[in-house]
Point group: C2
Chain length 186, copies 2
DNA sequence: GTCTATACAGAGATAGAC
DNA sequence: GTCTATCTCTGTATAGAC
């Protein structure tokens, strides 16, 4: 019974993790098959056994994103502090699996990858819907763009540069944003 | 007298315009020397006469960005509707020279280009300073992130996809953001 | 100043051994 | 399932003609 359960091959996940990390740290261009394989500890041929081509690897990453985003939306709906406050807090880069896959996917979206853009749009719309229930459609947009701005800045810094210092600066900013959200709620 | 004035060669600017346009429309990876040369109507060799290598082309683009950003900061300070409202309005994609060079540079920043990131940080700080004078340091951050979010979304769409429809949707969003700014001001 | 031709490296992908 | 070897294409850059 137990061994009939579909089990995810660990090598496959390791490759996907490596791809994600390289996208975050060095950008789309440097996330080559060679680099991903090396980081995952396999050969290029080994990598291409799991993912027949690069596009397949991207698709799997987007699947991962959608799965994690769905969990996030549920948590947002159930958040005791309210959806808006939850949204702002979770827009801060915290190196969570969702944060990571989001920033990684953003690197692909910049590169005119249509499928990635579509997925983003879908998730953003869900966020907006939940926010609108709490603060109304108008203020939901303000909150949404604040969160997007936070993400934009996390993305611009990526894994390079003074992540520690800048991250704590943005962390302080969250306080200001939460105060702003509080004002908008009334 | 007139002909002793340093005059910018037009071919050089045409190359830079082409590079910028390709970054916006098809992303960093597709903005190759071949593609830029073709779009500018010169050969690759001709291009490389003006810019000895690709990095030189990037540097010139960043110079352009800093120059236009400086003008924008001045306009923001002098804006009759206030710096915050001016900032939100001008964060909307309007295909201005500053908008264009900004989105183009963002494509480079995603690719872990350190110099580009530094320039961005400098400009953002200037914006924040001006905003803080008007609405205080806390609310300035809220306004700033809203503007960044607007830019983030413009960038995600780039020149591809339904720019017309989505752009007008974001245009409507600006109304909501201005209302939010008005609330935050009080 | 702008062109063509070419060198050179890196990237994605295939073939086939183990 | 994972490896090495290799093919092909594309991108940056140089050399030198015009």
């Amino acid at each position: 019974m137990m061994d009939t359960m579909p089990r995810k091959p660990i090598a496959r996940d390791a490759v996907l993790d490596a791809f994600e990390a390289l996208l975050i740290e060095v950008g789309e261009r440097a996330a080559t098959l060679d680099a991903v394989a090396k980081r995952a500890g396999v050969s290029k041929g080994g990598l291409l056994y799991h993912f027949p081509n690069k596009e397949a690897m991207i698709s799997s990453l987007l699947e991962r994103m959608d799965g994690l985003a769905a969990l996030d939306i549920e948590a947002m709906k159930a958040a005791p502090e309210g959806a808006a406050a939850f949204f702002i807090k979770s827009s801060l880069w915290a190196d969570t699996p969702l944060d990571r896959v989001f920033v990684a996917a953003t690197r692909l979206a910049e590169v005119a990858h249509e499928e990635t853009r579509r997925r983003f749009a879908g998730i953003q719309q869900q966020w907006l819907d939940v926010l609108a229930e709490e603060v109304g459609p108008e203020m939901a947009k303000a909150v949404r763009y604040m969160g997007d701005g936070l993400y934009f800045n996390a993305m611009l810094e990526g894994g390079a540069g003074d992540t520690e210092a800048k991250a704590s600066a943005r962390s302080a900013d969250v306080g200001a944003l939460l105060a702003a959200v509080e004002r908008l709620r009334n």
